[in-house]
């Protein structure tokens, strides 16, 4: 074997090891989650997870129903996405297609700044400023509810949606826009009939990534959703999300207890939920690419 062949081989293995690391780490995380979650199944059985109440600290009966937590995550994520989509997509269209270079220079740093605000700070803002506003506007007894959480999470998702959608819109070839203009379309018609549809796969990916950020976000929801594990989809009720549950309870729980183990089940469900979300996203993208849209 020549020296060159040898170095090629070494480099190849190095790359292979680097690439395998991610696979290995994901596998290890799964393994770890399942290992830690086993005591729960052994002591209470899997059925206990399907209880309708989450009451892990109780002298009456400890209950570990993930259902209210799942609904909490679901409603907050869904609401936040619904709120973030129009702002994100319209913002991206504005920045990439309509704004003058000067306006773009002004807007973009703000979008980046919004993306960079630590979630604790946002949560603090939500608790002190936003929650009282939500309370006053909707005449509620308390502003700590799913809607306030969703509004804050939308703030976190919007920069993601804007910057990725903007990239997608920018990569739409100039020739499409020219063709549309040459047929007598004005700027707005060109944007909605050609540019946005052509960038749709990128925009959908942006929204999915935004959702990914929202579903995994912990600190903000912990601070503003009130964290009462009520099984509800009502946006004005307090909800407790899966992430907030893990974050809030892991610190004080007795190591190795059933409660400890149940938190790993919450983690597993969260992982499966994001996994399914990703699969749906991939499917949507694939379908979109195969089928022409108009």
């Amino acid at each position: 074997m020549t020296k060159k062949q040898l170095s090629d081989l070494v480099v190849k293995y190095l790359f292979q090891i680097a690439a395998s690391m991610t696979v290995l780490i994901v596998a290890l995380i799964f393994l770890f989650l399942f290992k830690e979650s086993i005591p729960f199944v052994r002591d209470l059985g899997l059925g206990a997870l399907f209880d309708v109440r989450w009451e892990p600290v109780s002298y009456v009966k400890e209950r570990f129903g993930i259902y209210p937590l799942f609904l909490g995550s679901l409603s907050v994520t869904f609401l936040a996405t619904i709120i973030a989509i129009p702002f994100g997509v319209i913002g991206a269209v504005y920045i990439s297609e309509i704004a003058t270079p000067l306006e773009r220079e002004i807007f973009k740093p703000f979008v980046e700044l919004l993306a960079g605000i630590p979630s604790v700070v946002l949560g603090f803002f939500g608790m002190v400023v936003l929650a009282p506003i939500v309370k006053a506007v909707f005449h509620l007894s308390s502003g700590l509810n799913a809607l306030t959480g969703a509004l804050l999470l939308a703030l976190m998702a919007i920069p993601t949606i804007i910057s990725i959608s903007e990239d997608a819109l920018k990569s739409v070839p100039m020739s499409y826009k020219q063709a549309s203009l040459a047929l007598g379309a004005n700027k707005l018609e060109t944007i909605w009939r050609v540019t946005v549809p052509a960038a749709l796969s990128g925009i959908i990916a942006a929204i999915m990534l935004g959702m990914g950020r929202v579903i995994g976000e912990t600190m903000t929801v912990l601070m503003v959703t009130g964290n009462a594990p009520i099984p509800t989809l009502n946006p004005f009720e307090s909800v407790r999300t899966m992430t907030a549950t893990i974050a809030a309870e892991m610190g004080e729980v007795a190591f190795g207890s059933v409660h400890y183990s149940s938190l790993f089940w919450v983690g597993i469900i969260l992982l499966i939920a994001t996994f399914i979300l990703n699969m749906i996203a991939q499917r949507v993208l694939k379908n979109y690419k195969r089928r022409p849209h108009g």
Binding site: L181, A182, L183, G184, N186, E189, R193, P197, P292
Partner: protein
């Protein structure tokens, strides 16, 4: 200064035109076989600027109706800029400026208040690189009519059918109307772009090197198509392929360094040009 806005008209142009009312020298009239042609486009003393640099210098010409006019010349001579002035496509580029008059169907298209939408409906364009939308074949052709308010499905079907027939594509795509236009071959895509332009019923069709990116067989098809369309449409085609100009056009204009050097019947240009520069270019001495 010309802004990128489509509707606004450069203020400077107005000023400039007001100042320099040059003596109305009649544009060269075109006479073919001793017969006066009907002049659909009249260009008078056209100057065009990209920012500080001037791209067209005092171009005047009259383009006859329902004829094929070819514009030739070496790269960068201004021929592409020139046809983009005719449907105001240059409006979308920042910092451009137009001076002079362009009269199409009796109207100065750079007059304030000109409806660019109507202008572009009337003056269709096919680009150098085929650029179908990433939509179905049907939706590509129906794009223009829908834009201008046609919603009735039956009428749309009819327009799509007619446009695809006229662009000699119908027989090839009639079973693939809902397929993505991106799946067509390069030559088919370019004919689809012709169909898309025809669907809004223009009088004039501008073609900017429509065959330069195509293989010889597809090129032949495009040239045949031009031959068929000449009866109904005024066609202005930019090409750097002199054989193509000779094959398809009735009139030819030769541009060099932003000036229209010579404009005449194609036969005359290719056999007995008036200018030495034209002769040099045609005989391949430069360009």
């Amino acid at each position: 200064m010309v802004t990128s806005s489509l509707q606004s008209r450069p203020a400077k142009v107005k000023k400039r035109m007001a100042q320099d009312r040059q003596p109305e020298e009649p544009p060269k009239t075109v006479v073919k076989d001793g017969k006066m042609e009907n002049e659909i486009i009249q260009v008078k003393h056209l100057n065009f600027y990209y920012g500080p640099s001037q791209a067209l210098f005092d171009v005047s010409m009259s383009i006859p109706e329902k004829r094929v006019t070819a514009l030739i010349g070496p790269s960068g001579c201004g021929k592409s800029t020139f046809i983009r002035v005719l449907n105001r496509m240059n409006d979308i580029i920042d910092n451009t400026r137009v001076e002079g008059k362009i009269i199409i169907n009796g109207k100065d298209i750079y007059q304030p208040g000109t409806d660019v939408v109507t202008l572009r409906k009337n003056v269709g364009m096919v680009f150098q690189k085929s650029n179908p939308f990433p939509k179905s074949v049907y939706d590509n052709v129906a794009y223009g009519p829908r834009l201008h308010g046609l919603k009735d499905r039956r009428k749309l079907d009819e327009v799509v059918h007619r446009s695809l027939e006229r662009s000699a594509l119908w027989s090839e795509v009639k079973d693939r109307l809902s397929d993505s236009a991106m799946d067509l071959s390069g030559g088919q895509q370019q004919r689809l772009c012709v169909a898309r332009a025809l669907a809004v019923n223009p009088n004039i069709l501008l073609m900017d090197e429509p065959a330069s990116a195509l293989d010889p067989r597809s090129t032949t098809k495009i040239e045949d198509l031009i031959g068929e369309l000449r009866a109904e449409y005024t066609i202005v085609i930019v090409t750097h392929n002199m054989q193509q100009a000779a094959r398809v056009s009735d009139y030819t204009g030769f541009f060099y360094e932003g000036r229209l050097i010579e404009f005449n019947e194609t036969r005359k240009i290719f056999t007995n040009p008036d200018h030495k520069q034209t002769e040099d270019y045609i005989t391949g001495r430069f360009g």
